[in-house]
Amino acid sequence: MLLVSAHSLVIAAASSSGDKTNNFLIPNGTFVFEWIVFILVVVFLAKKVIPRITAMVDARQAAIQKQFEEAEATRARLEKAEREYAEALAETKREATRLREQAQAERAQIVEEARSEAQVRVEEMLANAEQRIATERQQTILALRAEIGELATTLAERVVHDALREDARQRKLVEDFIAGVGAGELAEQS
């Protein structure tokens, strides 16, 4: 090995032209020993020691991965539940709207039906009333006619009673009157 002085190191550089033995950049037998030691270290560590540490790293990463996946699955479930909830809510709202519309339609229909039924009843009642009025009028007319007949008869009897004694001309007047009443009755019935 070269013995280097402070001067040669600091001022110049290491010079290999010394009268000493070897350049220190040339390896010697130590190389073989160093190589064997290093190979032993590498083989032992690579086979026995480092795999154990690597296994721990992998186990931890697997655990983290698993946790991450579980969190992901939970998140997916939550999202699904939220989506379903929103869908159910929307469905309920649609259903409510539909029911309300249906109820309104039914109400309108019921009102319409009631109105038309009332109309029919009103018309029936009107018809009945008219019928009854007509009947009563008829009866009234008949009753009146009978009464008029009686009155006329009574009047005629009186007139006849007085006039028969007077002259034939008055008797004719009464007969004309009675004939007129009979014709009026016939015209009324037709």
């Binding site: 280097v4 190389f31 290093f38 721990m56």
Partner: protein, 247 residues
Amino acid sequence: MIAPSLAPLPAADISVGDHPTFHFVGLSFNYDTMYTTVLAAVVTVAFLMYVARKATSGVPSRVQIITETVLTQARNYVEEAVGHDVPAWLVPFGATLFFFILFCNWLGWIPSGHHPERLAPPTADVNLVYALAFTVVVLYTYLGVSRKGGRYVGDWFTAKPAIRRPILVLEQVVNPLSLSLRLFGNIFAGGIMLGVIALLPFYLFPLYGLADFGWRIFDSGLIAPIQAFIFSFLTILYFGFAVAEEH
């Protein structure tokens, strides 16, 4: 490191780069580097075993978080550079490189009990950084050849535009060399800085403790982790280059 000198510009020897050696089957061995390398290896293994034993998939401790961060970062870089279809050893390899280099770099804090007074990081010795880079090259070449077969080498000579071809060939030498020497240079220079600080002239002597401590904080807090990161990050990138398909 040597004790602070009172001489203005002493010719004191800075022992960085110098290693006590012994010889065995014709090769020289730096036994200080061997010792510190084994120490760093033991610390690395002990640290990671401690983390693995205490590891939990529940709430992790602080060291577990740090370790897991390094591992997951390594995995991210590997997936980015090489793709998902990667050999199982690549991420542990990158992470081991990071921790091992980091603990090597930090060994400079430990008192040695003799001269130099603190341990020299083994990464300040080319033998270790070359060994690391050699392993990296062997592994990424293996991966590249197993993926692409003969095209792994063939691509260097058929790449378009043609100007890339010599660069690709050159890279095969430059990448491992720059990878190793960058780490070595940074850590080696950190030791030299301590030596230079120790040589402050006597009238700046009051600054010695501050400069020494400040540099150690900077060196261990910033340079050591950054260099460990760069080495392992570039390693992963080179694996990416090795399997990248030419378009």
